[in-house]
Amino acid sequence: MKPSPRYAHAAIFLHWLVALLIVSAFAVGIKLWSLPLSPFKFKLIAWHKWLGMSILFLVVLRILVRLVSKVPPLPLHMSPAEQRIAHLGHLALYLLMLAVPVSGWAMSSAYGIPVVFFGVFTIPTLLAKDLLLAPTLKTVHQGLNLLLAAGVLGHVLVAFKHHFIDHDGLLDRMRFGRNPSQGKD
């Protein structure tokens, strides 16, 4: 089967960079969930927030790249219904990638604790301090994260299914390096 054309280089780079950062921020976030307060926890919270704000910035950039660059077509063997589901799935992932860091930013703001990016630049708060609202936003942040985790898991499983069961070369769309048709990587 002919390999699918690929996404734009910038889109591929941002996809994998954001994927790496999301996995890191998620792992730190899971650890924070159960860790008792300690100087190390304050450090982890800071790192988690820096990762989250970086992800938010990069996802916005990614959406801009997606809007201005050519998106490769989905494999021809997919029915119109399957294609629609794939697009909706990707849309949901984009929305969650925005909603998760924004909810964390809002939660931090409600606690009255600003995000100080890399310990240097104070990011403006998203809303006024509200200690009654803050625990609710924390729950929202955790819930959205579980949705995103489920979404990412589904995304990976479906991509593997396409590549290794349907043999439609889907993963090549997001691969680094030169096009297989042009020679070796």
Partner: protein, 183 residues
């Protein structure tokens, strides 16, 4: 009726120095600490004290304020709970902090400088800071910031003594309302 009024007047007149209790509804004692360079604000919900402040004769003025440390409030429940523990304020053993002025000097333009002794967690240190005072209706409002070193009072021992995470300097912000009859 007249008898009880006279009795009340006698009680007021015999109060030493006419020091007035703080107007607690209009007073606040808060603080800002920095963790990972992130400012975190907290406050002490309960405190009490006597202050006599005559803006025209500040040399004779004085304050004696006791803070209920267990009434500390930080933005998150886990940080509020942590500060009660032994490494922080050890509220079980040291439930209160106390501040007593030793002198107050005018700096001009409604600004003054106090010197006094602050006792937290059984440690007493000399402290001094400027403050402003203004009259608002029946109240004299005092505002100021007192920077302290938390480690000087052993606030945050053990692993918390590391100032890379929680900075040593803590700003105590006070807004004290004193009823006008406190002369």
């Amino acid at each position: 009726m007249i008898k009880s009024l006279a009795a009340a007047a006698l009680i007021v007149l015999t109060q030493p120095g006419f020091a007035a209790s703080l107007d607690l509804a209009h007073s606040q004692i808060g603080f800002t600490l920095k963790q990972m360079n992130v400012p975190m604000e907290g406050r002490f919900k309960h405190f009490s004290g006597n202050v006599s402040l005559d803006l025209k004769k500040v040399a004779a003025s004085k304050a004696d304020i006791t803070i209920n440390i267990a009434s500390i409030s930080l933005p998150t429940p886990d940080s509020t709970a942590e500060t009660q523990k032994k490494d922080w304020f050890n509220t079980a053993q040291y439930p209160t902090a106390r501040f007593v002025t030793s002198s107050i000097k005018p700096l001009g333009n409604n600004r003054f400088q106090f010197s006094g002794k602050l006792t937290i967690k059984g440690v007493t240190r000399d402290v001094s800071a400027p403050f402003s005072a203004r009259q608002q209706g029946a109240l004299t409002l005092v505002d100021g910031v007192l920077p302290i070193s938390r480690l000087a009072y052993k606030i945050g021992e053990g692993e918390w003594a590391d100032t890379d995470t929680v900075a040593d300097q803590v700003q105590i912000k006070f807004h004290i309302a004193i009823p006008a009859n406190s002369k």
